[in-house]
C-alpha cells in the first residue's frame, strides 16, 4: 500500500520536471529579452522592463499563480460578455503554471542576464565592430559564449528555486508530485511518510541539478585565468 502510493507519487515526477523545464525555457526567453530591454537606449523599453521586474518581485508567487489561473480568465470572460461573445475561457492548470513560473522567473533571470551582460568588457565589442563583424555575428561569437559563463551561477540558482516553486502548481489542481503526495496523505493515515517522499524527490532534483551544472560550469571556465591573489 505504502509502496504503491510511493510509486504513484514518483511517477508524477515526469510532470513536475516537464513543468519545471518548460517554465525554464519561457523564463530564459523572457529574461534575455528583458535584460536587453533594460540595457537599451529607449527609455520606454527600459521603464517597461523595470516595472515588470518590480511588480513580479513584489507579489508572492502563489498570488501571481492565482491571478493567472483565476483572475485573468475571469477578466477575459467579462470582456467577452461585454462585446457579446458567447465563450467561456479557462486555462488548463499546466498552461497557467508554465505561464506563471515563466513570468516569475523571467524577472529573476533578467537580473542574472543583465549583470552578466554588464560584465562583458566593452572593448571586446568595440574590437569586434572595428573588425567589421555584423551584429548577429557579434552576438553569436562574442556575447553569447561569455554570457553563458557569466550567467551560469545565477542561472543555476534560479533553476534550483524554480524546481521547488513548481510545487505551487498542485494548489491549482495540477497532478504533480506534491498533489499526489497530498492525495496519498489523505487516503492513508500516513501524511508524514508521503510528504517525506515528495521532499526526497525535490531534494534529489536539487542535488542532481547542482552536480550537473557544476560540470557545465567547469566546461565553460576552460581558458579563464583568475588573478592570483
Amino acid at each position: 500500500m505504502t509502496f504503491d502510493f510511493t510509486l504513484t507519487i514518483l511517477a508524477a515526477g515526469s510532470l513536475t520536471l516537464l513543468l519545471a523545464l518548460s517554465s525554464l525555457v519561457v523564463a530564459t526567453i523572457i529574461g534575455l529579452a528583458t535584460a536587453f530591454a533594460k540595457l537599451s537606449d529607449s527609455r520606454a523599453l527600459r521603464s517597461a522592463a523595470g516595472i515588470y521586474t518590480f511588480v513580479i518581485r513584489g507579489i508572492p508567487d502563489l498570488v501571481i499563480m492565482l491571478l493567472v489561473y483565476y483572475s485573468l480568465p475571469a477578466l477575459l470572460n467579462q470582456w467577452a460578455d461585454a462585446v457579446g461573445w458567447d465563450t467561456h475561457i479557462e486555462f488548463p492548470p499546466i498552461i497557467a503554471a508554465i505561464a506563471t513560473l515563466g513570468l516569475i522567473f523571467g524577472a529573476y533571470m533578467t537580473e542574472t542576464f543583465r549583470t552578466a551582460l554588464l560584465n562583458i568588457p566593452k572593448g571586446q565589442i568595440e574590437a569586434a565592430v572595428a573588425y567589421g563583424l555584423t551584429r548577429p555575428r557579434i552576438l553569436v561569437a562574442i556575447i553569447i559564449p561569455q554570457l553563458i559563463r557569466l550567467a551560469l551561477p545565477g542561472f543555476t540558482n534560479n533553476w534550483l528555486v524554480l524546481a521547488k516553486a513548481t510545487a505551487l502548481a498542485s494548489l491549482i489542481g495540477l497532478q504533480d508530485v506534491m498533489f499526489r503526495a497530498r492525495v496519498a496523505a489523505e487516503a492513508t493515515s500516513k501524511p508524514f511518510t508521503f510528504f517525506l517522499v515528495a521532499a526526497a524527490f525535490y531534494f534529489l532534483v536539487t542535488l542532481i541539478s547542482f552536480a550537473f551544472l557544476t560540470v557545465v560550469a567547469r566546461r565553460y571556465e576552460i581558458g579563464i585565468r583568475e588573478l592570483a591573489s
Binding site: I59, P60, V63, L171, F195, Y202
Partner: protein
C-alpha cells in the same frame, strides 16, 4: 466590476495584513539569533559541527517550503506519541506550525547568508582585534558580528522580503492572512478578479515600503562598504 464588495471587506484585508506581518516578523525575529549563532558554527573548526549545520541548511534549502509546511502541519499527526503529548494543543494550531516551518526555513537561508558574510571579513580586521588582546567574546561582539551583518545586509534584506511573500502559503493551512482573505472573498461572492488583484496590491505596497527602508538602512550602516565614487 465589483469593487464595492472589496470596499465592504477592507477591514478583513486589514486583519489579514496584520496576520501577514505578524507571521513574517515573528518568524524573522525568532530566526535571527539562531542564524547568527549557526553562522559561527557553520565556519567552526570542528568538522562534525560544521557538517551538521551544512546538512541542515542543504536539506531546508533543497526542498520546497510548501512541503516543509505540510510535513509539520499535516505530517506530525501521524505519530501517536506526538498526538498524546502535552505539546499537541500547540502543534495542532496552524499559526504555530506556520511559525515553526518558516523559522526552520529562513534560518537555513539566513545562516548561509551570514556565514558567507563572515568568510568575507578581511583577515586584517580579525588580526587587529587579536593584536589588541580582545577576548573571543569581545571579538565576536565588537568586530565579527557587526562586520558580518553589514556585509550581509543586501542579501538579508532580500531574504526578509522572501519571508514576507512566503507567508501567502499560510493560506493553504486555513490561516486568513492577506491571500487567505482574498481566497475567502472569491468563494463567498463568486468573483475571481478583484480579490486577488487587491491582495497583490497590498503585498506590492508592503514590499515597496520595506525596500525603501532597506535602502536607507543600507546607506546609513553599510555605506562604508560601497565602492568609492570618483
Amino acid at each position: 466590476m465589483n469593487w464595492g464588495i472589496i470596499g465592504e471587506n477592507l477591514p478583513l484585508y486589514a486583519e489579514g495584513a496584520k496576520l501577514t506581518l505578524f507571521l513574517a516578523f515573528g518568524a524573522l525575529l525568532i530566526s535571527f539569533p539562531l542564524a547568527v549563532s549557526l553562522a559561527f558554527v557553520r565556519n567552526s573548526k570542528v568538522r562534525a559541527l560544521r557538517y551538521a549545520v551544512t546538512i541542515y541548511t542543504l536539506v531546508f534549502r533543497g526542498t520546497p517550503l510548501l512541503v516543509q509546511l505540510f510535513l509539520i502541519y499535516f505530517g506530525l499527526a501521524q505519530f501517536g506519541l506526538i498526538r498524546t503529548s502535552i505539546l499537541w494543543p500547540w502543534l495542532s494550531s496552524p499559526i504555530v506550525c506556520v511559525l515553526i516551518a518558516y523559522v526552520l526555513n529562513t534560518t537555513a537561508y539566513s545562516t548561509e547568508i551570514f556565514a558567507g558574510g563572515l568568510r568575507h571579513i578581511p583577515v586584517g580586521e580579525i588580526e587587529a582585534a587579536r593584536a589588541y588582546g580582545l577576548s573571543h567574546w569581545a571579538q565576536a561582539r565588537r568586530i565579527l558580528i557587526p562586520a558580518m551583518l553589514t556585509r550581509s545586509l543586501p542579501l538579508y534584506g532580500n531574504e526578509m522580503i522572501m519571508v514576507l511573500q512566503a507567508t501567502s502559503l499560510a493560506s493553504t493551512v486555513t490561516l486568513l492572512e492577506i491571500t487567505g482573505v482574498a481566497r475567502r472573498i472569491t468563494l463567498d461572492y463568486y468573483i475571481q478578479f478583484e480579490p486577488y488583484v487587491t491582495a497583490a496590491a497590498i503585498y506590492l505596497t508592503i514590499t515597496l515600503v520595506l525596500v525603501t527602508i532597506f535602502h536607507f538602512v543600507q546607506r546609513r550602516w553599510a555605506g562604508y562598504l560601497d565602492p568609492r565614487s570618483s
